[in-house]
Amino acid sequence: MSRYIIGRIGQALLVLWVAFTAAFLLLQALPGDAILIKFQNPELGLGPDQIAALREAYGVDSPLWAQYLQALGNFLAGNFGYSVQGSVPVSQELLANLPATARLAGFGFSLAVLVALGLAFLATLAPFAWLRSAIQAIPSLFISVPVFWLGIMLIQTFSFRLKWISVINPGEWEGLILPVITLAVPISAPLAQILMRNIDEVSTQPFVAVARAKGASPGWVLWKHVAKNALLPTLTIAGILFGELLAGAVITETVFGLNGIGGLTERSVRFQDASVIQAVVVFSAACFVAVNLIVDLLYPVFDPRLRKAKGAAA
């Protein structure tokens, strides 16, 4: 078992290392570079030799492999280089923006899970067939809505038409309501779809018929037999959903003008700030890999089939 864990961690590290290398190479291949974009601006009045000095300070002129090794070493030490636009260490920028995004993502994810669970169970237990199929259709609608447009529509409806939520200087929690909804909708859709499909599949299993034959009601069967079997496989998409959460944060924070990792990402793409992008990409890959690793290692706790058999199984 411990051998499996070590192997699994090694695989995760390998993925991370390749992701880092790919991000590094990709951004080295950039046609423009951030130093030039920022300092060649004539208004700053910097001469060529001053720019050259700056370039040396940022270390952009050394050979590629040296830059790569240095960047890798720095990354391992938690030093992600300097953000050119912000003129502060990238790690500082990330840390400064992390809490806001974490809060948004945390609430968004919780709401998404609630919505997905609610839809999936309603789609199974709702009283009329037409109502069940209507509820089943909701996730495919959610999945087809552009996130940025959803945010704008929410602002348009709740802030401008109904004037329920103020756009200008909303309270700390008030300002979070619409972004959280915007973020939750696209995350809840795939979750609800997978849940609904799993519930359908599990419901056709013979053990469900056996439970019904014991005299169990449909509600009892759904709760005691179908639920756990249907929920387990959704754990495997936790990593993907986490990535979607980050991507959703980029758009949501842009639409609502919030500060956070997402807004930071959007700005650094606009100004081709390579080191920030690199850090964000590697950070999100690390989160993805970590979430998947945790899910893999915890899976046997939830699924007895992956546990070692106890006693004789003859």
């Binding site: 439970a211 034959a213 089939r305 006693g311």
Partner: protein, 534 residues
Amino acid sequence: MTTPLLSVENLSVAYKEGDHHTRVTHEVSFDIAPGEVVALVGESGSGKTTTAQAVIGLLPENGRIEQGAIRLNGEDISKWSSKRLDAIRGSQISLIPQDPTSSLNPVKTIGAQVGEILRIHGDRDGKVIAARVAELLARVGLSDPELRARQYPHELSGGMKQRVLIAIAIALKPQLIIADEPTSALDVTVQRRILDLIDELRRENNTAVLLVTHDLGVAADRADRIVVLQGGHIQETGEAKALLIAPQSPYAQRLLADAPSLSTTAFREPRPGGGDAIVVDGLVHEYGLGRKKSFRAVDGLSFSVKRGTTHAIVGESGSGKTTTVRDVVGFGRPTSGQIRIDGTDIASLKGDALRQFRRKIQLVYQNPFSSLDPRQTVFSIVEEPLVNFSGLDAGARAKKVNDLLERVGLPEALRKRRPRALSGGQRQRVAIARALVLDPEVVVLDEAVSALDVTVQAQILKLLDDLQRELGLTYLFVSHDLAVVRQISDTVSVLQDGRQVETGTVEEVFLRPQSAYTRELIDAIPGKRSLALA
């Protein structure tokens, strides 16, 4: 006669497909007296399972009762609400399902699943439930019931799981148990023990049993009365013994004649047979299990088959049959030992030499649903081997394929169809045609008739026999079903856990079995009891 416990009257059930209803049972009527065993016997599509599902009120969502009544102790329960039925399901009528592997919830313990039926019907005290669960598990013959209660389904064998399901079915001492093919997914020896257990328990509590089965042998052994269904219509109802001795309806007569386990035909006439077509010598096959560990699936198998004869390999699941087949046809590589087909050691062949050699030996698979490419037509499936070893032009190929399709009894109209639009028997005919189109010397039949209904099985067995006579084919016939083996083979090897426990002519092995295991296998053939009585 006492009032019947269950009385099914003119029951018609229909399934909704698209926007019309298709009836699958037509005015089915029968009674079950208290403590009586009634068998519903029929082939696929006969409506036997549907009838059983209707009785316990668990038709699939698209099914509905169109007419008729189901009376339990005189009261019609067919129009009861699901909620009202919940109260009698489990307590008065219970179910032993078909496939034990998927009939237990994989993420709940055995104890929780047995205890559940007690909880649903009102028990609340955890200690009382746990004690009763242990008692039940012990009653169905599971050793160490406290441990079993804490285990999960995947830690138990198929037979043990079926015992657990039986424990659930008898927990509340119901008046009626519906046993839906309770043993068709189990090995024959296990099947016999499970059926014995059901018999014993129902006698103890005077429980009536509705036994649903495709196997007339099982029905004959276990039932008081038999109801024969075909295409949703009752063909015949009668006392089990009377029906076996003198079936009245043509369909029941045919079913009886085609059931291998009930046939009383003599052993095959010995065929002349030439030199050795297949020689297997000291075959060993090991599978690696992680580092250092390995599992010996086949351990020292030796037999030889004379040209133009049939050799059978018999064994239960895990006996090494499948591994042997794969090595013989060259898909697997034996760890040691020799396999000579027509003098050539197949294990020594590689690459194109192996490909060329495949003309001599062909395989027919167990499952006619998965062994044909769903996108090809019947014609192109059979033509493909000829294309691979092209010596013939398109016209000559077409003639050969058409002749062969006619020979295996496939009408011309089917040749442009895809496998999906064929019945199981038709598909297996296509597979046989594909195997024969290259004029091979050896045909390996891997459980080739096991998935087919008995009447279809009998037709395919007859076809195989005719083809062997005409073409001088050598068959290697792999099966779990001794009754079929007895009918079709000349010689037989019996495998148990990878070892060959017995080999010889069919007559020797069946009449004078040397090993205890072979004796057990032969005794387990259903229908034995009733044959002895008849």
